[in-house]
């Protein structure tokens, strides 16, 4: 069983968490072009790397950030939004 550390509840089995994708800045829908909006809606960075992702500890509804190497599937850091730059 893989273990993930929730910043509030500590180490828990990864099956208690769900993944919400890489953190990506949203362009302003009122001012951006159609192409910029389509790029935001659909396109993803599918290549491997160390990525910052949204995860949620579902049993406590804690949303937080995970820095993860997506090729080795190794969690490097977890923290609450606004805690670490």
């Amino acid at each position: 069983m893989k273990i993930m550390t929730c910043p509030v509840n500590g180490p828990r089995p990864v099956s208690e968490f769900f993944y919400w994708g890489e953190i990506r800045p949203m362009p302003d829908p009122d001012t951006c072009s159609d192409d910029e909006w389509a790029d935001y809606v659909f396109n993803r960075n599918g290549a491997p790397g160390v990525k910052k992702e949204w995860w949620c500890h579902s049993t406590s509804n804690t949303w937080f950030i995970v820095e993860r190497d997506t090729e080795k599937d190794m969690v490097l850091r977890t923290y609450l939004y606004g805690e670490a730059a």
Partner: protein
């Protein structure tokens, strides 16, 4: 004892001819370079030579042919999709499959078993009826059947699925089949080789030379090759290659896992899929149960497999077939599925001239191997997308005109 086998033990040289020839050197240029020696890349090389007379072609494979998703999939072949684009495309593929063993003079063990997509809820029944209507409109053998029909085809099934997910009916697709996946890669490989294409294993593409928006060549682990046309058919590696040419895409990678049981006497003829229980199962010619589930829940670009998967799949499988509780799991593995937001592939031309894409095949691309080879060969040879693939272009993610295939592709493959 098969006496022919003794020859392998006694002779010093391998007594069978090789499936395809060895080329110690890469040429300095080719008319077409195909990245990826999976079924799709090899099929494209085959049809480029057979249908278009283009034989100065190199297929570059960083590992060994068929070692990617082609050799990792659970080999379900069917055409009962949801969108008109998908139904027409996969139907053409099923027709190509049916003659393939003879065309290759190689037994692909193409076995027509019949395919059931089980429905456990009213909303699933509604999707099944919708699919059956679309299918029938395009002449595909596809109908909604009741639980008793399912029971006759698979007498060992518990129709109540442990009591919590009773089977209300199913979409039955008589042409549903399985085939021997590596033989498909070898068959296309040998056919392409016989017609003059070169297959280079252990040759990795490291970069693509694009000048003025046009492909000029590829950088490989064995040196530079000049070419004006590159076909990318690398499934789970597609985002890495697209990064080399700077083309943004919606493709993201999640592992898809599978497992097989120890061999059992034949007891299961059809292929069964349950979207609600996240299970699909068929019995191979060797008697092993070939089983899979839905995608892993988060992005990983490797082929690691997990115990969570075996536990989850086994427990759902036992809901359907409680009598399997003492059967042992023999092997498990994973492939990298190149997913798209609408569960349809991405095929055709790209913003880079001479760079053609065959990707976004996710969990459903094995069945499409023949038709992909054929339509991509046409697209590369004529520089115009084949009429069967225009609904799958990369542009659809700029124009907000998706080809929503999720209802037919998510667990069913």
């Amino acid at each position: 004892m098969p006496w022919r086998l003794l020859r392998f033990g006694l002779s010093k040289k391998h007594p069978e001819p090789r499936m395809f020839s060895d080329h110690p050197q890469l040429k300095s240029s080719y008319d077409v370079v195909i990245i990826g020696g999976g079924g799709h890349g090899l099929a494209a090389a085959y049809y480029l030579a057979r249908d278009h007379g283009i034989t100065n072609v190199a297929v570059l494979e960083k590992g060994y042919i068929g070692g990617g998703n082609t050799g990792r999939n659970t080999s379900i072949i069917r055409s009962n999709y949801l969108t008109p684009e998908g139904v027409k495309f996969y139907d053409e593929s099923v027709h190509l499959w049916q003659d393939l063993s003879e065309e290759f003079d190689l037994n692909l063990f193409y076995a027509n078993r019949g395919h059931f997509t089980l429905a456990h809820t009213d909303s699933a029944m509604r999707t099944m009826r919708w699919r059956a209507e679309v299918n029938k409109h395009y002449g595909i053998d596809s109908e909604v059947v009741g639980p008793d029909f399912v029971k006759r085809a698979a007498p060992m099934i518990d129709l109540s699925c442990g009591g919590h997910a009773p089977i209300l009916g199913a979409l039955f697709h008589a042409p549903g089949s399985v085939a021997r996946h590596d033989a498909v890669a070898w068959g296309y490989g040998r056919g392409a080789d016989m017609r003059g294409a070169e297959i280079h294993q252990q040759t990795e593409v490291l970069g693509i030379d694009v000048q003025g928006g046009k492909v000029r060549g590829v950088q490989t682990s064995r040196g530079y090759i000049a070419t004006n046309k590159v076909l990318c058919a690398v499934a789970g590696f597609t985002p890495r290659i697209l990064k080399m040419v700077g083309i943004p895409s919606p493709i993201y990678i999640h592992p898809l896992q599978a497992m097989v049981s120890e061999p059992l006497k034949p007891w299961l003829d059809p292929i069964l899929v349950s979207g609600s229980l996240h299970v699909y199962i068929s019995q191979s010619a060797r008697g092993e149960l070939v089983m899979g589930a839905s995608l892993d829940p988060y992005e990983v670009q490797s082929t690691r497999s997990t115990l969570d998967f075996v536990e989850g799949l086994s427990s759902h499988l036992l809901d359907m077939f409680p009598f399997l509780s003492n059967v042992k799991v023999m092997r498990q593995w994973a492939g990298m599925a190149d997913m798209t937001p609408d569960f349809a592939p991405i095929m055709g031309k790209t913003p880079v001239e001479g760079f053609y894409l065959d990707g976004g095949w996710g969990t459903w691309g094995f069945k499409a191997t023949p038709v992909c080879g054929k339509t991509m060969a046409h697209t590369v040879a004529t520089d115009t997308p084949h009429s069967l693939i225009t609904g799958f272009s990369l542009d659809r993610f700029r124009n907000f005109s998706l080809t929503g295939e999720k209802g037919a592709a998510s667990v069913g493959h």
